[in-house]
């Protein structure tokens, strides 16, 4: 049976530092993060690079020239009480969410990350000289050919060959953009004709150049092969997904993660009745991104043609059937049901009238507004005001953010989001990491996804090799009972959770 689809989202935010002549984005990111950490009462131990191997390839080989983002030891890199990692990745502030038990939980922690970013901007403003401000954008490109990612991660069974995963998920990654694209004014592909309408469904399609590969910064692939499970490598794989956009819409995030979890669970259970293979995957991904009518068929490898909607309806119908045969267990009962209902409703809306989804889907909301603004001021598609509009859709400052003004539906409780900024999910190993931080923060030397290192004598590293291991009565009792990490280690009677 498929493994429970533990998942997470890593977002690299765009950053600008206002009020200075020039700025170093890595340094400004560090200032932003440090200002947030300093404003918290809790301890935030350093990140432990012990298990980082970004050069390992799921196709069975390893490269040594791919480096961890440990650019500079003085750049901020911390673990938060909710189990997330908050750090400087290359030239961006990044939050990697804690491991989440289902798509709905991933939405909650994605929203919590945005709140942490908003607080960070306020905290930084308070410590920066008057007239300076650091601003972050939850988007994926600067409109000039530079992209940064919003990656997803899914727990997979190592016994399922990677080639099957790659073949099975490719068509979904090419077509899911019709509801999880964040929308973009213009295009950034050198040497190609401008998009038909000056607007496309996704921010990332212009940057995807290969079908499959290890790269994330150049020649980006649809399927990324990084093989770094951050867990027991004999049992688990972590599918690292780089093809998606960062979403402002909670519904889009739910669908992005939730539908992908369904398709991956079906691959693991060998439930997909046929292979869906595009004749030209990269070209299809880009064509679909630039076809706002959603009607243009793509050439398939078997000689037939299909639209992205055709393929999404097929994935949806299969997922519905899979859930009726017990598949909801792998994607979470409540979340899975919600994903299925919303998936059907959104595909129906896209087929009938995409504009009916302006309160749910980012590219629709953005396109409706930008087209309205363009008409109102009689602007051409290359007018800088439209590009400014696009950027500002993703501005996380409440007083400037456009996305927060367009009535996007909220599916998670705002109060629960605030709680999630400082509380880990209870149904994954993030629970253990978060509770350790809350209770023994001053005694943690370092921590990462799969271990916590205490300052006690002797071997004081506890490993967390199973991402599915959440709260248990025994663990909760131990955290209540133990006053020191030494007691915790002693009572646990081992170094594994």
């Amino acid at each position: 049976m498929a493994l429970k689809k533990i998942c997470g989202i890593e977002t690299e935010y765009g950053i600008i530092h206002q009020g200075v002549e020039e700025f170093n984005p890595a340094y400004s990111s560090s200032v932003l993060i440090s200002a947030y950490l300093a404003a918290q009462e809790s301890e935030h131990p350093r990140w432990d690079f012990n298990d980082e191997m970004p050069g390992n390839d799921a196709r069975g080989f390893s490269r040594t020239d791919v480096l961890s983002p440990d650019m500079h030891p003085q750049l901020a890199n911390a673990i938060l009480l909710n189990g997330a990692r908050y750090y400087v990745d290359h030239a961006h502030p990044e939050i990697s969410s804690p491991e989440c038990g289902d798509a709905l939980s991933a939405v909650l922690y994605d929203c919590a990350a945005d709140v942490i970013m908003q607080r960070s901007m306020e905290n930084a403003k308070a410590v920066l000289p008057a007239g300076e401000e650091i601003v972050v954008y939850k988007n994926n490109s600067d409109g000039k050919g530079n992209s940064y990612g919003c990656h997803e991660n899914y727990l997979m069974d190592r016994t399922v060959p990677f080639s099957l995963v790659a073949q099975g998920i490719m068509a979904h990654f090419i077509t899911r953009q019709i509801y999880c694209g964040a929308g973009k004014v213009g295009m950034e592909t050198v040497g190609e004709e401008p998009t038909r309408e000056g607007f496309q469904l996704t921010s990332r399609a212009d940057f995807i150049e290969e079908q499959i590969g290890l790269e994330t910064t150049i020649k980006r692939p649809i399927i990324n092969t990084r093989d770094e499970p951050h867990a027991d490598y004999r049992r688990f794989r972590r599918l690292h997904v780089i093809v998606g956009d960062a979403n402002m819409s909670q519904v889009a995030t739910l669908l992005k993660v939730g539908t992908t979890a369904f398709v991956l669970a079906m691959i693991e259970d060998d439930f997909l009745p046929r292979e869906i293979v595009f004749a030209h995957p990269v070209a299809a991904l880009r064509n679909i991104s630039s076809d706002l009518s959603l009607a243009e068929p793509q050439q398939m490898a078997d000689g037939t043609q299909a639209t992205a909607l055709d393929i999404q309806w097929e994935m949806y119908e299969l997922s519905r059937k899979f859930s009726e045969l017990g598949g909801l267990e792998q994607v979470g009962e409540k979340s899975g049901q919600m994903v299925l209902d919303r998936w059907e409703q959104v595909l129906t809306g896209l087929e009938a009238d995409p504009m009916s989804l302006a309160d749910q889907i980012d590219w629709v909301a953005k396109h409706r507004l930008i087209a309205g603004y363009r008409d109102r001021h009689s602007l051409s598609w290359d007018d800088p005001r439209l590009k400014a509009f696009d950027l500002q859709y993703h501005d996380l400052r409440p007083e400037k953010c456009i996305a927060s003004r367009v009535g996007l539906e909220q599916i998670v409780d705002p109060e629960a989001v605030l709680v999630a900024t400082a509380t880990p999910p209870r149904d994954t190993r993030a629970y253990f990491r978060g509770r350790c931080l809350e209770k023994f923060g001053t005694h943690i030397l370092a921590a990462n996804w799969d271990s916590v290192l205490f300052d006690t004598d002797g071997d004081s590293r506890i490993t967390l090799m199973d991402p599915m291991q959440g709260e248990t009565e025994e663990l909760a009792r131990l955290f209540d009972m133990c006053e020191t990490p030494a007691e915790l280690l002693e009572h646990m009677g081992g170094k594994h959770v």
């Binding site: 961006h92 954008y137 530079n146 409706r368 005001r385 500002q392 009535g407």
Partner: protein
């Protein structure tokens, strides 16, 4: 879920009523859009050209 069920439109609504509803909904949506655009006109960065030009990022990931 079958193809027929997903394409079903509320069968109780008669056609003229549907049209009236559609016109009313379209008009409400238009007003709402105009209202949002008014608000956006106020918050949009004043010097769009300069803002767009200065928004330069390094690649990440």
């Amino acid at each position: 879920m079958s193809d027929t069920s997903r394409k079903q439109i509320n069968p109780q609504t008669t056609q003229p009523e549907q049209q009236e509803d559609a016109v009313a909904a379209s008009s409400t949506m238009h007003d709402e859009l105009e209202h949002i655009l008014d608000e956006i006109d106020e918050v949009l960065e004043e010097n769009a050209e300069e803002f767009v030009k200065s928004y330069v990022q390094k690649g990440g990931e």
